[in-house]
């Protein structure tokens, strides 16, 4: 019945499930793939699979269904591309001895960044959050705070120096 709030086949329920789990699923997949586009793709496919099986999946088990499907999709892709990937990594190492383009981002590292932002001195934090969270340009921040662009840039610069010291070398 349409009024059944536990019926995943109901578009409204499906959308609610999406908003409840999509972010977590994408996060989970990013740490597995280290690739935002791939994480996004697999996340979408997992939800399409859920819709395909909406009549067979128990509402209470939706989350574990999504994560299991996502994990399997990831493993399939990985199996399929293993040879290619190994080859690529080998080439990357050869051509880019000096600057490692491939920096792993682990869950713990993101926590460290968030902690470091939280512990910035007030002035630096204010500028930093306006720039990163609100996506404001240095010039816009300068106008809002009534300071020079140079001053904004200095605060940003200093914020990064503090963060690097806090997080330590990687």
């Amino acid at each position: 019945m349409i009024k059944d709030l536990n019926n995943i086949c109901n578009q409204k329920v499906f959308e609610k499930i999406y908003h409840a789990y999509a972010k977590d699923l994408k996060r989970f997949l990013y740490f597995k793939t280290q690739d935002m586009d791939l994480a996004e793709d697999i996340m979408q496919d997992a939800f399409v699979k859920l819709w395909d099986n909406c009549g067979n999946v128990n509402y209470d088990k939706t989350k574990s269904f999504l994560f299991t499907v996502a994990k399997n999709l990831f493993l399939n892709i990985k199996k399929h591309e293993k040879v290619v990937l190994n080859h690529q990594k080998y080439q990357l190492r050869k051509s880019n001895d000096e600057t490692p383009e491939y920096l792993m981002i682990e869950k713990e590292f993101l926590v460290k960044i968030e902690d470091a932002i939280a512990s910035l001195p007030e002035k630096q934090k204010e500028v930093f959050l306006m720039n990163r969270m609100e996506k404001k340009k240095y010039k816009e921040i300068a106008e809002i705070l009534g300071i020079s662009v140079k001053a904004v840039e200095k605060r940003m610069h200093f914020a990064l120096v503090i963060m690097k010291d806090k997080i330590g070398n990687v």
């Binding site: 999509a22 994408k26 399409v48 490692p100 904004v152 200095k154 610069h157 990064l160």
Partner: protein, 307 residues
């Protein structure tokens, strides 16, 4: 320690310009130590990852829906199988028949006491009430959005070319909107919930705006009235009637509860205004017949007699 660093970087802002993308990694590399360079690069990457985690995901949801729509045709066949062998069997016969013309008619229906949400090829949504049926031609769909309806359904139409609902009692045409059509047993009612709806009956057009309803019962003159609910009430488990001959209310109860009601001893043309709920038969019967001073008795399982 911090004091010193502050002094050191007092006149510096290159990290800010680098983060904004105004100086390149290569230039940064010349300004800081190797270890610091990698540390800054990783922080920048981490910040970008955090950014994308925070991004709203509604865009992705649209893409998921696109993927679902692409797979729709296959899905609808599968859904049909769930609705009982009779429908599956008739479907098979129809597929067989229409494959000869290379244009397959998709038929989707509900049994008594059943409701179903269906997505059409363009992503439009149809909620079918109990004992109702829609059909359309898959191949013609792109050129011609036409759905045939018997029974009652609520439509949420995606914007696009004209969308037509054909019924035995008249046609309903819209561009992109939400509306309800009930066309059963000489009872024809259209309610517009969003946008504009055109009803064509006996070669005459009627335009409905949101909350307007059009109704024509058993060949009588049509009536227009307003509704106040944002959605048809049956979607939320309640059937609502406004000055409707009782026999149509009885049809509706029979459909919703999959029962038979013997109304030979009462006058079916009495006018009823009110509603009944879909989840408790006793309460539903009481709320309709008690208010009309009609006695009802259970004759046997699923069969009731009115006096």
């Amino acid at each position: 320690m911090k004091e010193i660093k502050n002094n050191n970087t007092e006149n510096e802002s290159f990290l800010a310009t680098w983060l904004a993308g105004d100086i390149s990694d290569k230039e940064l590399k010349n300004l800081v130590s190797e270890a610091d360079f990698i540390a800054y690069k990783k922080i920048k990457k981490g910040l970008l990852v955090l950014d994308s985690f925070e991004q709203p995901l509604s865009g992705s949801f649209v893409k998921i829906q696109d993927k679902i729509v692409q797979k729709k045709e296959r899905k609808q066949k599968r859904q049909n199988l769930g609705w009982g062998m009779s429908i599956a069997a008739s479907l098979l016969v129809l597929f067989g028949l229409f494959s000869m013309f290379n244009n397959s008619e998709i038929i989707i229906g509900t049994a008594n006491a059943e409701q179903k949400t269906i997505f059409l090829l363009d992503g439009s949504e149809v909620v079918l009430n109990a004992k109702s049926e829609i059909s359309y031609y898959k191949e013609e769909w792109n050129a011609n959005r036409v759905v045939k309806l018997t029974g009652e359904a609520f439509f949420k139409v995606k914007k696009g070319s004209t969308f037509t609902v054909k019924t035995a009692y008249g046609d309903v045409m819209v561009l992109g909107t939400q509306f309800n059509v009930n066309a059963i047993n000489d009872y024809f009612q259209v309610t517009c919930f969003e946008g504009k709806v055109k009803v064509i009956n006996n070669q005459k057009d009627y335009i409905l705006n949101p909350t307007n309803s059009y109704r024509k019962i058993n060949g009588n003159a049509f009536e227009e009235f307003n509704t106040s609910t944002p959605l048809p009430t049956w979607i939320n488990g309640e059937s609502n009637f406004k000055s409707v001959p009782l026999k149509y209310v009885i049809f509706a109860i029979e459909k919703q509860y999959n029962i038979e009601i013997d109304a030979n001893n009462i006058n079916g043309s009495q006018i009823f205004t009110g509603s009944f709920s879909h989840n408790n038969l006793e309460i539903a019967l009481a709320s309709v017949f008690r208010t009309m001073n009609i006695n009802y008795n259970k004759k046997e399982k699923g069969i009731y007699i009115l006096e």
